[in-house]
């Protein structure tokens, strides 16, 4: 691997992204990643500003639609209560082991 790359970081990213590359691709990739990081680093200066992150572009600006696209799933309606009471199924996110 090219010395230009931080080897540990690249290996960690490759593992997390379930990707791998040929040596030739890695060489090109290292150069590109360094260049792209130099672009992304420009946004880092904003991180210290006291600004609320914006995840939804219409956050707090537009009225929500009259009804949402995906209705909230009510687990109790999907699974009859008596089955939970009789301990026939386990729902891990309710704290059961």
């Amino acid at each position: 691997m090219s010395k230009k790359c931080e080897e540990d970081l690249i290996n960690k990213l490759l593992d997390l992204s379930r990707l791998n590359f040929t040596e030739e691709e890695l060489e090109k990739l290292c150069n590109d990643i360094n260049e792209i990081r130099s672009l992304l680093n420009k946004v880092s200066s904003i991180s210290s500003l006291d600004v609320k992150p914006l995840y939804n572009v219409w956050d707090g600006i537009l009225d929500p639609p009259s009804h949402v696209g995906i209705e909230k799933i009510d687990i109790d309606n999907l699974i009859p209560n008596e089955r939970i009471i009789q301990n026939k199924i386990k729902i891990p996110w309710k704290g059961e082991k």
């Binding site: 992204s17 791998n20 990739l29 792209i36 672009l39 680093n41 420009k42 946004v43 572009v57």
Partner: protein, 478 residues
């Protein structure tokens, strides 16, 4: 009078043009020209098209009112169709036929549109030149040694060489506006949430919109009218009643502002073409202000790319060799998944996934992803303030259509092409790209950005401008 989709519909309705003759002429054009241009990844079979024509004819006889009967539409290949493969320009979705149609596809079919084929794109819409497709690059019909822009380059080229009347692309950071600018066509990035994304193969959900393209603003209004509207299948869809603006009353009604940063760093031919057009429309009575500034533009590209990479990394995790047909062998799930992704994603896609994982990783997330979401709020708020008072005019691209291969070797040069277009995606506002003129026979576009839900205002302004310039329904090689 030039032939546009609007006039064609009149002729098809009154019978002076036969739908079958009309559509098969388009197929002939594709046969002759697409060998060179490569705008399409797949084309409908003639039998299927004939069936569709007969269905539309029956509907017309029965008096069913359709908005675009017999109009030929091409669709970007990241928009799901259950009758043609949807590859997103990637080997990993080769021959994948979705089990359902995107909402926009259903709407086009219902209104009598004839979907002729699926158009080429940068793999998963990640690119600005349509050179990153697993199905070969697309050439610009105005100069085949140059790119048509991207990622909806196939849609733009399909319009520019006259193979269809209307097209759908998708716009995550300029992906219909850049191609529109490079091919003398028109592209509208709608307000976020006004067009259903149901059935769009996702790249960066919070930024992208399915976006209409045409050869004139009036034609664009036709397809916009078909595809807009709330869809309960899309959780990001918004309800809104659009008001129609009479374009005859727009003189002096709209104020255009031209912030220095949105034009001045463009190449000289771009600047001079745009200033010439602005002068022309100013002489027609439209108020133009040149004093405004947008100093936050310097944050736009890093903010945009950080968010886009992060969302791409998350979205593309689904391609693991299990959920979709293409798969490589491996002794374990991990190995199989890695092999599938290694052999079937292109280098640009892999690069963006890696950068997205980096932006979201512990130790980096605050400096990259969270910082970018803060940057997005700053940019959005400033654009919303500016568009309360005026429509922002700008370059679409800082450069003329580049030569094939010229930009893709250097990621920063490639990403810099999007500098003026990513702002509308970050702010969620609508933006229209349309022809401003030509320089050495190469198209130059102009962009107009308005406030949320002001598409009709943009269309009225664009329609007014194209009437004055005559720059509409331009077909390369005509």
């Amino acid at each position: 009078m030039k032939e546009t989709a609007v006039t064609i519909i009149e002729n098809l309705r009154n019978g002076s043009v036969d739908i079958e003759d009309y559509v098969f002429k388009k197929i002939d054009i594709i046969r002759k020209k697409d060998i060179v241009i490569n705008a399409y990844i797949s084309i409908d079979s003639e039998d299927f098209i004939l069936e569709r024509i007969n269905e539309i004819k029956r509907n017309m006889v029965s008096g069913i009112n359709m908005k675009i009967p017999g109009i030929v539409v091409s669709i970007k290949d990241n928009i799901s169709t259950n009758f043609l493969p949807t590859t997103a320009g990637s080997k990993i979705l080769e021959n994948y036929v979705p089990p359902y149609n995107a909402t926009v596809v259903e709407k086009i079919l219902k209104e009598g549109g004839i979907i002729i084929g699926k158009t080429n794109l940068d793999e998963f819409a990640m690119g600005s030149t349509t050179e990153f497709s697993a199905y070969g690059l697309t050439r610009n019909p105005w100069d085949i040694t140059r790119v048509p822009g991207g990622s909806s380059g196939g849609s733009a080229a399909s319009l520019a060489y006259g193979s269809c009347d209307l097209s759908l692309g998708s716009d995550t950071g300029g992906s219909v506006r850049l191609p529109a600018s490079y091919t003398a066509t028109v592209g509208l990035k709608p307000t976020y949430g006004t067009v259903s994304r149901y059935g769009l193969i996702p790249y960066a959900n919070s930024l992208e919109q399915i976006s209409p393209m045409a050869r004139s603003v009036k034609d664009l209004a036709l397809i916009w009218d078909v595809i807009k509207g709330y869809d309960e299948k899309d959780a990001t869809s918004v309800n809104y009643d659009f008001k129609t603006i009479n374009n005859k009353t727009i003189n002096n009604k709209f104020k255009i502002c031209v912030p220095n940063e949105f034009i001045e760093d463009s190449e000289q031919p771009i600047k001079s073409t745009i200033y010439k057009l602005l002068e022309k429309i100013e002489n027609e009575g439209i108020d133009i202000e040149y004093e405004g500034r947008f100093e936050k533009l310097k944050y736009a590209l890093p903010t945009y790319y950080t968010i886009a990479f992060a969302e791409a990394a998350s979205n593309l995790a689904r391609y693991d060799g299990k959920l979709y047909p293409v798969s490589s062998e491996g002794f374990s799930y991990k190995e199989m998944s890695e092999n599938t992704r290694r052999h079937n994603f292109g280098l640009e896609v892999k690069k963006r996934i890696l950068m997205g994982v980096l932006a979201l990783s512990e130790g980096f997330i605050n400096d990259y992803y969270i910082a970018a979401t803060k940057g997005r709020r700053i940019i959005r708020d400033e654009i919303l303030n500016m568009t309360k008072h005026c429509i922002i005019a700008s370059s679409v691209s800082p450069i003329l259509p580049p030569k094939i291969g010229e930009r893709i070797k250097d990621p920063l040069k490639l990403y810099a092409m999007d500098i003026y277009t990513v702002v509308a995606n970050l702010a969620g506002v609508p933006a229209l790209a349309m022809p401003a003129g030509f320089y050495n026979n190469l198209p130059v576009g102009i962009q107009f950005m308005a406030g949320p839900f002001e598409e009709e205002k943009l269309l009225a302004l664009g329609s007014f401008i194209e009437e004055k310039t005559g720059l509409y329904n331009l077909i390369a090689g005509d």
